[in-house]
């Protein structure tokens, strides 16, 4: 079946602009996660949605970052007023109720110039 998909695969933006990154989880997966992978920081958790519960936003690095999940499926990660340190690969993952493992998408490579 289809895996986790993310769009765009690459995004180049100018410092100060807003960007939106999209994630389509595996159908039927109730949990959705966003992570960031950068050279300096490795793999970092950003935010986690589980069903109808309030999201765990504890990993968001600043109030410029936000995410929403509409209808329990697609999620959008928004970065406002992008900075050069936001350059990274943003990874989305999903998992199903009762499952331990998370399935990752291919990521969106964000470059802020």
């Amino acid at each position: 079946g289809a895996g986790v998909s993310q769009s765009p695969s690459n995004k180049v933006t100018e410092k100060g602009k807003d960007v939106e990154l999209r994630c389509d989880p595996i159908s039927g997966h109730t949990a959705l996660y966003w992570y960031r992978q950068s050279l300096g920081q490795g793999l970092e958790f950003l935010i986690y949605f589980q069903g109808n519960s309030a999201p765990d936003k504890s990993g968001l690095p600043s109030d410029r970052f936000s995410a929403e999940r509409t209808g329990g499926s697609v999620s959008t990660l928004t970065i406002q007023r992008t900075q050069q340190e936001d350059s990274a690969v943003y990874l989305c993952a999903s998992s199903f109720m009762g499952g331990g493992e998370q399935y990752f998408g291919p990521g969106t490579r964000l470059t802020v110039t």
């Binding site: 499952g99 331990g100 493992e101």
Partner: protein, 117 residues
């Protein structure tokens, strides 16, 4: 809070040699344990997982790992590596979710395995 330490940032080995990639974790409660592999310019792929039960878990591509609670370790092993195993390997832990499944993954810094001919 949980943390993961991967002691070796780079491991070079020759083809057909055995390899062990080390992972230690810190947590005051029971955790789930995972190894993920990332091939160059690709996403993360699950190699294996420990949720409960047998402490020796077998994964894809001939890899296995052993959960050792007393040493808080989850080392990854393969008895004979191939050139195609060249990749970066990440150890990760998570707590179980009250609604089933797992909460956020906490990753180690990764180990780059290079298999030479």
């Amino acid at each position: 809070a949980q943390s993961v330490t991967q002691l070796d940032s780079q491991v070079p080995v020759f083809e057909e040699a055995p390899v062990e990639l080390r992972c230690n974790y810190s947590s005051s409660v029971s955790v789930y344990l995972f190894w993920y592999v990332q091939y160059p310019n690709q996403g993360l792929q699950l190699l294996l997982k420990y949720l409960s039960g047998s402490t020796l878990v077998k994964g894809i591509n001939g890899f296995e790992a052993e959960f050792n609670k007393s040493q808080t370790s989850f080392h990854l092993r393969k008895p004979s590596v191939h050139i195609s195993d060249t990749a970066e390997y990440f150890c990760a832990v998570s707590l179980g979710s009250s609604q089933g499944g797992s909460e956020k993954l906490v990753f180690g810094k990764g180990t780059k395995l290079t298999v030479n001919p």
